[in-house]
Amino acid sequence: MKELEYPFDSEYIIKKKKSIKRSLLADGSKRLKKKVAVFGGSTTNAIVDYLELFLLDQGIEPEFYQSEYAQYWQDAMFPGEELLSFSPDIVFIHTTSRNITAFPTTSDTKETVDKLLDAEYSKYVQMWQKIRETYHCPIIQNNFEMPYYRLMGNKDCSDYRGRLNFASRLNDRFYSYADENEGFYINDINFISASYGLRRWSDPSYWNMYKYAMCFEAIPEFSFNLSNIIKSVFGKNKKVLALDLDNTLWGGVVGDDGVDGIQIGQETGVSQSYYEFQSYVSSLRSLGVVLTVCSKNEHENAIDGLNHPEGALRPDDFIIIKANWENKDRNIIETAAELNVLPDSIVFADDNPAEREIVRAQIPGIAVPEMDSVENYIINLDRGGYFEVTSFSADDLKRNEMYKANAERAAAVASFADYNEYLLSLDMNAVIDDFIPVYLQRITQLTNKSNQFNVTTKRYTTAEMEAVAQSDEYIRLYGKLADKFGDNGVVSVVIGHKNGDVLDMELWLMSCRVLKRDMEFAMLDRLVERCREQGISKIKGYYYPTAKNKMVKDLYGKFGFEKLSEDEDGNSVWELSVSDYEIRNKVIKVGDNSSVK
């Protein structure tokens, strides 16, 4: 919903909260249901109200538990019946500088202050560990905003007795913990409050009258920032940035002004702004965001513009370049199809409001940030939180190379008469084996973002996946696939729960980047082999339809399973007897964990 996209009008959202919620709930979209426990050190009601709006808008339907006023520590350490049975999918701890119990005083020694710091910090660590042991779920923790007055003036930030100094040191401790613990995320209110304006943010009347730790008008921005972490944890990030060219990546129109006439580089303020934006986009690429071009231009002119010697981007940085005179919504749909991603995982950046409007109207779920003037491009894209990083796997860094290799494969297939011959020519090598720690993060990430080739669409948090990985009740397989064009990394995950001599399949997913490579058969071969070794005689498969997973409706049928039942909603149950199974994969060489260096 446009009203909830950055830069939004907070006061409008405050006034229209109820009707916005009503229309979000009435839009008929299917959302991921998630339970969010909020442990507050101050009032949390409005925080939850606006968080709900932003999450609904991002495809998540939250259910909330809120601790009684300021009972965050008690609730975390001594959970009541209501909280235990609520069983959260994620816990958010809303503490602020208002909750720091013992700031240093001017008579304290260095040692005393260090002890105060240890005491304050260990209170939090205790709480985080208890939450982790009890719910095995991700935790989001606010850092501390800077206190709004400075007893010592400027020295308050550098002197060990200063309140600012103390809050900063606590923050550093939190960051070290975040760095060492997976599934633990900092909600950076120190940044958000500074960006909002600390003076307005910490207007004490809101604390004194309502026990809100920030001014009421800042809460939508606070909640939006928080919602970005949650949606990223649950796999709702965008993947692709589709960019217009003229007046988006450079100033002017390359077709009219010529390459020498466009504004990019160090010459003027305007050309520097475009250069900064290109540099920002180039950094996004290095984070694993896939870049494409969607521009109304002659192809040749587009390439010339991207080859401008003063630019920060090169034509090679883009996986797909659509520079033609087709409608942009159509180009975007084609881009999505070629990349094997859903159109709603794309962000479309274009300076032309008319183009934005058409794309927004034609493609549900696509993000179309305001790109009104070049000096705002970076902030609007950045603050929009489309590519919020919560985990950072090696595969993210290589994603662009992988998509590029995919494009080369597509070109190669055209030159073969027989598809099998083509597959053999790819020289594919897979590793298929039980989970190992080095891939666990990627495995979890895949379970949270694969929608299409996914028979059950079961999601796992980091903690849940660790539990599965350590249990002997499961047969688990990950599959990694490389070929002569490049390494695709971990692309398939299969999890079955052992039940006597039957294996109940909880998960079968594969990344769409390796469709039609027979990888699923290689996975099945290995699964049957493991079943035989462990005395399993039957594998039972389950298909649960969603709006996105039609392509695997008959996956188990294709595997040779027999359909046992199907209900009116399309949920089906399948069974395979492992004794009669014959090897299906004939094109991929398959190794095991011993080949992983």
């Binding site: 006034k15 909260k17 009503r22 809100y212």
Partner: protein
Amino acid sequence: MDAKTIYSRLNKVFRDVFDDDSITVGPKTTADDIEDWDSLEHITLISAVEREFRMKFKMGEISSMKNVGEMAQIIASRVK
């Protein structure tokens, strides 16, 4: 700004905040008359009124206002 304009604009704010087009406020309206007007929504209402009239209530005013009439008086004294 005359009282009539203030009340008509206040009325619109109340309808937006409580998402109820049947609301009509007058000088004597209090929180008891509107079902969803509790202490939590009071702050939403204050914020929306402040935006509508581009003014700020003082802390003391917020806690001492007894009805919509007093709210309108403060607005009238603050907004030209």
